[in-house]
């Protein structure tokens, strides 16, 4: 489908208060900064944010945490954001910590129609609490279940007007798996190019997964 590019504010308006939102990025690298800023500007409330980390107080997902937009995070790391720690200890925000590889697989499972995956990660730790242990060929594994969200907010390098996406170096991280695991998928590109310009082997996320495209930076 050919897609008209939205402004960041128009994209932020598509994220309802209280929604579950996957946000790409690793310490802000590969996060959709303009849409995050627009969510802060809009005063979004009560979001459940799924991502790798909560960035820093002024970086990445941390901007949403600082602005009070977030009710809960599901992330692998919060050590770089003291605001997250404070809000967690004060009971103002729920924090669900998930091992990074397990987080990636749970999101992938959500997008790939799998009912779950078995991983050795987390066995013998607090991560295993309340989870089913499945034995395969004499080895124990944790059953980890799929994650999906109402909205995925992605950053990408190039997009064409079908919303075929490419990523760049370490800014790729969680974006491709999140593109498959949400009902509304919004991609914020650094550049928009004509259809047919990205070779089929270089596309990383096909446009059929992306419901909305944000305009290039002005």
């Amino acid at each position: 489908m050919r897609r008209k590019a939205l402004t960041p504010a128009e994209a932020a308006a598509l994220v309802p208060d209280g929604a579950s939102v996957m946000i790409g990025g690793f310490l802000g690298v590969g996060s959709p900064r303009r849409v995050i800023d627009a969510l802060v500007a809009r005063g979004a409330k009560g979001l459940t944010v799924i991502g790798n980390d909560t960035g820093r107080p002024d970086l990445g997902i941390g901007k949403l945490v600082s602005a009070g937009c977030v009710a809960k995070v599901i992330v692998s790391h919060i050590g770089t954001n003291p605001v997250t720690q404070q809000k967690m200890l004060a009971g103002e925000m729920e924090v669900d910590l998930v091992p990074q590889g397990t987080l990636a697989e749970r999101i992938r499972a959500g997008g790939a129609g799998l009912g779950g995956v078995l991983t050795p990660t987390g066995l013998g730790t607090s991560v295993a609490e309340g989870k089913q242990v499945v034995t395969v060929d004499g080895r124990d594994f944790l059953l980890e279940t799929p994650l999906r969200a109402d909205v995925a907010l992605l950053h990408c390098y190039e997009a064409d007007y079908y919303a075929n996406l490419t990523y760049r170096l370490t800014a790729q991280n969680f974006n491709p798996v999140m593109a498959m695991a949400a009902d509304i998928v919004i991609a914020e590109p650094d550049e928009v190019v004509p259809i047919g310009v990205i070779p089929p082997d270089h596309v990383r996320t096909p446009g059929i997964l992306v419901t909305h495209l944000v305009e290039r930076p002005q």
């Binding site: 690793f26 310490l27 802000g28 690298v29 590969g30 790798n52 980390d53 992330v75 692998s76 790391h77 919060i78 050590g79 770089t80 720690q85 967690m88 924090v95 910590l97 091992p99 990074q100 590889g101 397990t102 987080l103 990636a104 697989e105 999101i107 992938r108 991983t119 050795p120 990660t121 987390g122 066995l123 013998g124 730790t125 607090s126 991560v127 390098y157 990523y167 760049r168 170096l169 370490t170 800014a171 790729q172 991280n173 969680f174 974006n175 491709p176 798996v177 990383r204």
Partner: protein
């Protein structure tokens, strides 16, 4: 030579030619400075690159090319960039020859704790649980004691990172190897006596007949 340099130099001796190695953020990243001359080691950064190099000159940084601590890096010839699912498929799948991680505690069974101090500090496990579960060798690089308190303890008092024991612990005082029989003191730091190590260690240590100084 300060404590961190001792640790980094000694850990670098564990590197092998033509291997894939992940360095945790903080102290472990220093190891990359001491790769033996002529040795080819591919470093993985779990945020998505194999084959990265030093921070580029001022003004030549790329906001889309960073390490797992968010610092700017460069890409060496033959580098490979990838997403998080691929990154941890490599880690969990046993394709990583070695990982070097920081530690808060290691116990007599060789178990590591490095992600949470209940009531005080919750960093989160990040990739550490997957790294300990999946890497062929897990080397812990940490100060031997913190503020006078032993970090090598009989039983973890902090939440464990994995059930699986680590392969080796390198500190500013000693090299210690977890075995089925317990922790074995393999090496002393230059000028450090065995008694000094025992005094700074809360867990029992097995003492072989010879305990040489670390090669650095």
């Amino acid at each position: 030579m300060d404590a961190k340099e001792i640790i980094a130099r000694r850990v670098a001796r564990e590197l092998r030619d033509n291997t894939l190695v992940n360095l945790g953020i903080g102290l472990p990243t220093l190891v990359a400075r001491y790769v033996p001359e002529g040795m080819l080691v591919a470093f993985q950064s779990e945020n998505g690159i194999i084959g990265f190099g030093a921070r580029p000159p001022e003004g030549m940084e790329d906001p889309n090319l960073t390490d797992a601590g968010g610092g700017f890096i460069s890409a060496l010839p033959g580098a490979f960039a990838f997403d998080s699912a691929t990154s941890f498929a490599l880690i969990r799948g046993g394709h990583l020859d070695m990982t070097v991680l920081g530690g808060l505690q290691v116990d007599a069974k060789g178990r590591l704790a490095n992600w949470k101090v209940p009531g005080r500090m919750v960093a989160g496990m990040g990739g550490a649980m997957d790294l300990v579960a999946g890497a062929k060798r897990v080397v812990v690089a940490m100060q031997h004691a913190a503020k006078g308190e032993a970090k090598i303890v009989p039983e973890l008092t902090l939440p464990p990172t994995a059930a699986r024991p680590v392969s080796l612990v390198v500190t500013d005082l000693a090299v210690i190897e977890p075995t089925a029989d317990g922790l074995v003191l393999r090496e002393r730091a230059p000028g450090v006596a065995v008694e000094e190590i025992l005094a700074a260690t809360a867990a029992p240590l097995i003492l072989p007949d010879t305990i040489p100084e670390m090669p650095l």
